[in-house]
């Protein structure tokens, strides 16, 4: 497979090896051609060639984030909408660092971390805790929600399809899509297209519900633009947890490896940054806004709100009135756990291979077994979630996310690693440091909580 000298795009990650060099070169040429056009003219090309950002949005918009959005709308109405753009905005600086590692660093970031900062931070905290454990444990919530929604959707159509029966369908569907990611360049693109369509389904479906229930635009705009928090410890808790939770280690590293899997090189950095804005930030903000607004317009002020995603969605459905809106909500909501489960399968495979330093051969049984590992959460369809494990992993994450963030900040500013491609921007560094400081506060608050000093 010959690669022209000037392409600078020879793959550094085996997942990209199946993408012919001609395709990568054609992409680079196309990016070069549109780079002189005004931004609106460039957007369609960026949307077509982007992908890792959309994969990141699908990962981030899981059962946890949606539950937080629904709770926020039900408890505080529109007032906390502003936190969403603070959360995603502060996270983008670190994501831009990951784009730099992918396109100009052209190394596997966990390997480089291991060389510079040791295996404990790289292999254990980043790969094993930040990717593998998260993928396996947090998939329990996705499966429980996904199978419940399949049951509800079938029920709305007058068919009985309970969780105890429908879980194999959920498992087969998500496993098949996740395994497709390993089927060469075409597989990568197919999964990315699926994620883009699923995000569109979420936005259109929840948007349709919002049209039915209506929106208080002045209150929503005020909520977006005027910061408000509940008084006391609850407000501090809400701000730090919400703003730090939107984008974490899993999102950082997944975006980096998804970019490597596309064979991104130096000429793709602009694309990677636009992908972060159009693929990750925009869908996240739109879905979050619509979901908070739907619950603000219906359950806010209607007495004690439920606290789980399943209870919240069950409480909302009768309030939607229209059958079409009920279907729209269920279909849009079902896209949430399905896309997250698919992404978690790929995250798990990447994480396992980086934990043990294996080369990811997507045709191997090892890769496939790693993709399927999170499917153990199918037990969540009829067994309670493993609460103790979830608490242990959440604790590890709270205490280690910031350390991983330090490591990436140091790598970006490491002359020996990045050379001329290191960060030369004061503002970029400051943005990353602000997110790292939020993550430090999450760790400190976790300890204060355990010591009984907080709340």
């Amino acid at each position: 497979m010959s690669r022209p000298e000037d392409s600078g795009q020879s793959p550094v990650y085996p997942l990209a090896e199946a993408i012919p060099s001609e395709v990568l070169d054609a992409e680079a040429r196309r990016l070069e051609e549109v780079s002189h056009k005004p931004l609106p003219m460039r957007v369609p090309t960026y949307l077509k060639l982007g992908g890792p950002g959309f994969m990141g949005a699908a990962l981030t918009l899981g059962a946890g984030t949606l539950t937080a959005a629904m709770l926020s709308g039900a408890q505080f109405g529109y007032k906390t909408l502003w936190i969403s753009w603070v959360a995603i905005g502060s996270g983008l600086f670190m994501m831009a660092a990951m784009a730099r590692f992918t396109t100009r660093g052209r190394f596997r970031v966990i390997e480089k971390q291991s060389e510079r900062h040791g295996w404990l931070i790289a292999r254990f905290l980043t790969a094993f805790v930040g990717l593998v454990s998260v993928a396996v444990i947090f998939n329990f919530g996705q499966v429980a929600l996904g199978t419940h929604l399949m049951e509800s959707l079938a029920g709305a159509a007058g068919v009985s399809f309970p969780q105890e029966v429908n879980w194999p369908l959920y498992g087969i569907l998500t496993a098949w899509i996740a395994l497709s990611y390993g089927r060469g360049g075409r597989g990568v693109r197919a999964v990315e297209t699926f994620m883009k369509l699923a995000l569109l389904v979420m936005i259109v479906s929840f948007g349709a519900c919002l049209l039915v229930v209506g929106i208080d635009w002045p209150a929503a705009l005020r909520g977006l633009l005027v910061p408000w928090l509940p008084r006391g410890a609850e407000g501090v808790d809400l701000f730090i947890a919400s703003s730090a939770a939107a984008i974490g280690v899993g999102d950082w590293v997944f975006f980096h490896y998804a970019g490597l899997a596309k064979g991104w090189g130096p000429r793709h950095e602009g694309l990677a940054r636009v992908d972060l804005l159009m693929g990750l930030a925009l869908p996240f903000l739109m879905v979050y806004f619509v979901v908070v607004s739907v619950f603000a317009a219906t359950l806010h002020g209607a007495g004690a709100a439920p606290t789980t995603a399943v209870e919240l969605s069950s409480a909302l459905i009768p309030l939607l009135g229209e059958t079409v809106a009920e279907f729209a909500f269920l279909i849009g909501f079902l896209a949430v756990p399905i896309t997250t489960t698919v992404a978690l399968g790929i995250v798990c495979a990447v994480g396992m291979h980086e934990t043990f330093g294996w080369d990811p051969d997507v045709r191997s049984w090892r890769w496939k077994a790693c993709v399927l590992m999170p499917q153990i959460a199918l037990l969540g369809a009829f067994l309670p979630s493993p609460l103790t494990l979830i608490i242990v992993i959440a604790a590890f994450l709270a205490l280690s996310n910031n350390i991983v963030g330090w490591s990436f900040f140091l790598l970006l500013n490491d002359v020996e690693v990045m050379g001329a491609n290191r960060s030369k921007s004061y503002l970029w560094n400051l943005g990353i440091l602000l997110q790292v400081t939020l993550l430090n506060c999450v760790a400190a608050m976790w300890i204060f909580n355990r010591l009984g000093l907080w709340g």
């Binding site: 900040f409 430090n440 907080w454």
Partner: protein, 71 residues
């Protein structure tokens, strides 16, 4: 900025660069600020000085550590 230029964040002291030590110091300042806040919120004494120290320390750490490596 000229004051900052007097010391090199990339110089190694012990096992780490000064920039890494700065991140540790920032964490300590964050903890002090939050501890001050917990004392304030629980109406205990001594909350304000700790909160002020932690916030000022955090701001200084961020402003210094954000400086990119010079050529």
């Amino acid at each position: 900025m000229s004051k900052h230029a007097r010391f090199d964040l990339e110089k190694t002291i012990g096992p780490m660069r000064i920039r890494a030590w700065g991140l540790v110091l920032n964490l300590i300042m964050n903890v002090i600020a939050l501890y001050g806040l917990t004392r304030l919120l629980s109406d205990s004494s001594g909350g304000w000085p700790l909160l002020a120290l932690g916030v000022v320390g955090t701001v200084i750490c961020l402003l210094v550590l954000a400086r990119p490596v010079s050529n």
